[in-house]
Symmetry: D2
């Protein structure tokens, strides 16, 4: 490129584009589509500032990756494979390309996986693919490999996906900025200064341990305060119920007053790539708007609740209250609420975000500290703080249900149930 | 209310709700709809962070108004009409209620006015109206009066709409925060400390003049850097062209492959209140998505350009170049672009935002400084900075057109046109 | 007071003074003296921004206390003793009044205690005493009681001194701001919202547990990154050595080329209140400047090192290296460095700052969480994070010594010592 | 240097040192002395946060210069003389080296000039000189040349001293940060992006005009709100009076109870370089402390006022009130105040800071905009805002005097004087 281009960004101040390939990728229609998908799904119903898109997050991940690589190059580290620069940058930029609207709810309802879609977009007949192919014929495949973690150089994959990757670093800072909570802030510049390539890994200088502790604590706080927030979860459940109902109606042969092809194909579970690319949150919300005028009372009601933010309330319960919860289902049906759509039970382990658990099988790339004798040690062996976070089991048992249920529930008849539901957290 | 409630807000840290009426208004479906309308219309295509909604801005205007009133009450100012507190708060919260999707483009294409819609929602058969009526039967009318500036107490109206009102103060801070530019920051706390009620006006203590200068300079910078940004303007033009084409097609009897009732009624210019409330940016974007598959080539092309951010380029010209611009129309038609849809000329005065012009007839409430001898003076008489801003004519003459035009334009044949368009700013 | 006064403050934006007593206290010469004593002692030699004074910190502690009380009053909490407001504010403002220059080094060298001096100033013949006496004759005694924790209402004392007090909250935020590290930031507004008076204690609503965790983590990070920083410790040791040498010289009958009375009396350990009030960091630094021209070579050298920031280096060692360290003393003497002045050993427990240890005898006021059943639980029983922090033993064994020592140490002769000292952290 | 070193800085986050020469300069005793001289002189008595030193500012100027040069190098601008890099960095770091304690007051009282002292330190027998000489024998001379603006390459000089130099950029940001006002913030990164070397000048791309306007407005606001603050001015006057009295006493043969050599030589106006280097604000304050116990009543009183912040009050007057002011002198003498020490008149033009005045003879390097046709235009020709700032005459006529004067002034006898002084701004 003749001249560096910049994007003004509230989190990183500026995002610097120095490669024509990156510039062209940003200008593809598939990447522009990410402007119409929120980064935090239903969180905007809990934190009204959380209206930012995956577009801005993707630029941020790219920028952090660019900064890391530029630091590696400035310091002439021998263990850094210089030739992988553009591959890293492209994978960083495109790693979320396959996200659909309200991903978590959609994925659960229809069994799609955004990582698969990212690769399909990179490899399919798309503008993105054409830009990547211009670099070299096998370049799209390499990018897909990094995104799906099958690429054979750990150091490249781990810049984008590991316990201390550009993805997590950007989303913690960005989500903290837009929600307005200040738990997610950590010293990015310091972390960038203490990481380095070492024998095929990205490692952290031991003297940077406290900076990494701080980053992990931010993550811990963000999970509790933002990502696992029960109101956000309630909204996700609401959406999931809408799709479950629509699917059920479709299977029963119901004729929808309003339907568009991409959604129909999604329900039929045979959605094509070009249909998938038409799906964004505006289409999804438009469905909700017009489905809130459907004949089917349940569908209509579920859509209205989401749009008007009349979300389900929730109560925590102990595992020992299991019987009571089963009882609740019966009572609910009696009160005129189909428990299939008007009740949901949440177990801690069902959450889709992770915390730091170095021992887990899917945690291929834990955080390694490099000491002055060139020994590598996994951080939780040296940091008591990290160890304490690793052990904590996230989440509570919660039951979600419509607020009106309580009104219809007689205290005399169901005292224990009343006691349980009356006790909100 | 039993207990104060709060919203986490990135700009004001927290927004405090102390009245049940305010809480209930926020929970109405009409107010929740504002979550689906962006505060800055098409600006997100220029500044990717500008994805925040009118919902968050409305809460912010409410919060600043609450702070101002709370300061007035704490200082026991005699000139403050205590009984107007709730009225001010409601009007502040609801002043943007009638905004439709991409307001500026829509209003221009279909002749609607958001202020009128705000009043129709406040006075019509809505949840908002029911909440307000519970205060007193004539309360909705009073709220509408403040919003439409017909209420008879200047002091109440000017808190919400004047040269130094809660609306402007919130949007400068908020838009600066979300775009990431730092021009819009000024010392809100200091301004709150120097304003006070005085003989029916909101005035500023003379010693606060520099704080107000700083606020007006922020405004000046935000207008140039953000609100008047030509890329944003280009996107607005793009949208306006889409609607103009759709209207033309409708009038010609064209059958749309995709259409929903509220949009149809908007085009027919007989949209009802309940239809209007269904309109939000998700519906509008969904139209663009499916219209990008229409038979009509122009409609299809215009929609695609907006969705994929292939916006028109622009060149500045001097008023003396007028003839050249007329020439351009001809050339454009020859090159296969209908100038009606593929060209737009922008004059400085056509902008929909204002700068500070104390002498103008619509500027009922200029900024008055109160000195220690209790004299009131309009600020531009005392501040040279403000005077210099007041005199500046905003904007440039610009012509917008598709980038491909240049490729089809022969330098030999049209040297002057080439010179004009080649010179971008 | 006729009108509220404000101070511009970088941490709290503004500090609001609403009582004439507070205004008058700030204007006393004893309080103004705090402008000439740095908040963080020798830390400015590690973090060059840490040049802020106890004056600004004291205003900050006052302001946080004011905010807490104002929240208590706004919520009409029954358990808040309204009549104690002014007492709390005065004690908050004055709690650090007795600090001398470079307190930690001075206190260690001469056995003074700043808490005692605070009370002597409050009770002695001072401007502060006259302002307090004007409130009521026994008011100075009450203020001194709160500062020395002997006042009989826990709730009053604990606002100023407890695990979650205005003092700690201000210094974490302020020290983070001025050093530029961002570890010390936590959500002050949220903490203020979740604390309340309850049966004679200040307690935290259980739902605020994560906010308190975040505050404690900030504290943990600040201790490691700032307060316990070994370079700061090295500078403290340097100062302490200067005073030790001066005291030794005085006892030997040495005639100082430069001496002022307050320092002389300090060395003689019979310093009067009026002398003490003349002592500030400018006097102390002036001593160092002119002592750096003394006949005594050791005194001269020690002063120069501090002024020119030629601080002692440090190496960590294991408790098992004890014998080696003793060996080092001998070697040092042979190399011409008197170990009394040129060497210092640091054990973790000697630090003067504390971490959160709920079980310790001096921790009268641990952090209590109040749940919705009105049960009080100490936080480390509910939070694993807090528990993990509580257990961590701070600090390392370190030896401090002049950098030149290494040059004079033969590797062949002292291989183990070389290995130890060569290994810096 | 083997490895880049960093300083944590609150304004720039980190300051990067990449050259051994810079590292060595920072560690000289002459540079370390700057830690003991406040950046803003007496401003800390107005803004309690303004306690930062010239040490941190000097590092900041260095860092901005480093960033500018690094941008020039990254873009391979032909007009940038690469070989001048280290010279620029050293001059940037050392440009304030000659500042004495409370420079403005001292310079006025004793006729010294800090620029001259900077050069004397660079060229004299100092650690700084030894470090610079190690680069090349004529290097100290070149550095002194840049500092004193006699070096023959404008581009080098103007990086350090011009209307848009690293010095001003750092102090605006830094002083805003430490005082806590937010007027001084501007978009440093953007300014760095729009400046470039061009035919021997540092110029600004025309598209960056608004960023420069914003910077100049920040400067304008900082001058009014911070640098010209009348309370700061009052403190400066207080100090100046102390020195004037001491000089007078010395000339009369008075024997001081407390005196140190460097101050004596300063009064005698034959201070040597080594004496000058002993002078810092701690010595100056120590003088004030012990002079506040002198026999001479006026000296004692003046010192006390400064230390205890009992500063002179001030009133504004019109040029036409001149006669009244002369009258005031008489009255003052009658009231027992020697007008030589207890009164000061301030004219706008006497201030030592400048505003942007492109036409003035000493403004060698105004701000030039470079348009796309490679024309250079001075900014005030294109920007109305800048033009309006340039024309504004700063300051007011003010008279400063002890607050007690008013008490001793009979309203009946001196009604006009009462009216004048009673009217504070």
């Amino acid at each position: 490129m003749k001249e560096e281009k910049v994007f003004k960004d509230p989190v990183h101040k500026y995002i610097y584009v120095q490669d024509a390939t990156i510039w062209d990728l940003i200008n593809t229609r598939e990447f522009q589509r990410l402007r119409r998908i929120r980064q935090l799904g239903t969180s905007f119903l809990t934190f009204h500032g959380a209206e930012h898109s995956r577009f801005s997050h993707s630029l941020g991940v790219y920028e952090i990756t660019r900064k890391i690589i530029s630091q590696f190059e400035r310091n002439h580290y021998d263990d850094w494979p210089k030739e992988e620069r553009l591959l890293c940058l492209c994978a960083a930029l495109l790693h979320d390309l396959g996200h659909g609207p309200f991903s978590h709810s959609i994925e659960k309802a229809f069994g799609t996986r955004h990582e698969d879609w990212s690769c399909r977009i990179v490899l399919g007949d798309t503008e993105v693919n054409r830009v990547l192919s211009a670099v070299s014929p096998d370049f799209p495949k390499k990018v897909a490999g990094v995104i799906c973690k099958s690429y054979d150089k750990e150091i490249v994959v781990s810049l984008v996906s590991s316990q201390l990757d550009a993805d997590r670093m950007d989303y913690l800072l960005r989500d903290a900025y837009f929600t307005g909570v200040n738990y997610g802030t950590f010293d990015l510049e310091r972390i960038l200064r203490v990481i380095r390539p070492y024998k095929g890994h990205i490692v952290v200088k031991e003297s940077g341990m406290h900076a990494v502790e701080d980053y992990l604590m931010s993550r811990y706080q963000m999970y509790w305060q933002v990502y696992f927030h029960p109101v956000t979860r309630s909204a996700e459940i609401g959406l999931h119920k809408v799709f479950a109902r629509a699917k059920h109606l479709y299977e029963e042969g119901y004729t929808f007053g309003f339907m568009v092809e991409p959604i129909l194909h999604l329900i039929q579970q045979n959605i094509s790539l070009s249909d998938y690319l038409l799906l964004d949150e505006s289409v999804m919300q438009t469905m909700l708007i017009f489905w809130s005028q459907e004949k089917d009372g349940i569908l209509r009601d579920l859509c209205r609740r989401f749009l008007d933010r009349k979300l389900y309330k929730y109560s925590t319960f102990e595992p020992s209250d299991q019987a009571l919860i089963q009882r609740m289902e019966q009572v609910m049906a009696e009160a005129g609420f189909d428990p299939m759509y008007y009740m949901e039970i949440d177990f801690p382990s069902k959450q889709s975000y992770d915390v730091y658990r170095p021992g887990e099988p899917d945690e291929n790339f834990p955080i390694l500290l490099l000491d002055h004798k060139e020994r590598l040690t996994e951080i939780s062996h040296l940091s008591e703080i990290v160890q304490s976070i690793s052990g904590i089991q996230m989440g509570k048992h919660r039951v979600y249900y419509p607020e009106e249920l309580l009104e219809r529930l007689s205290v005399e008849k169901y005292p224990e149930l009343w006691a349980l539901l009356g006790e909100r957290d």
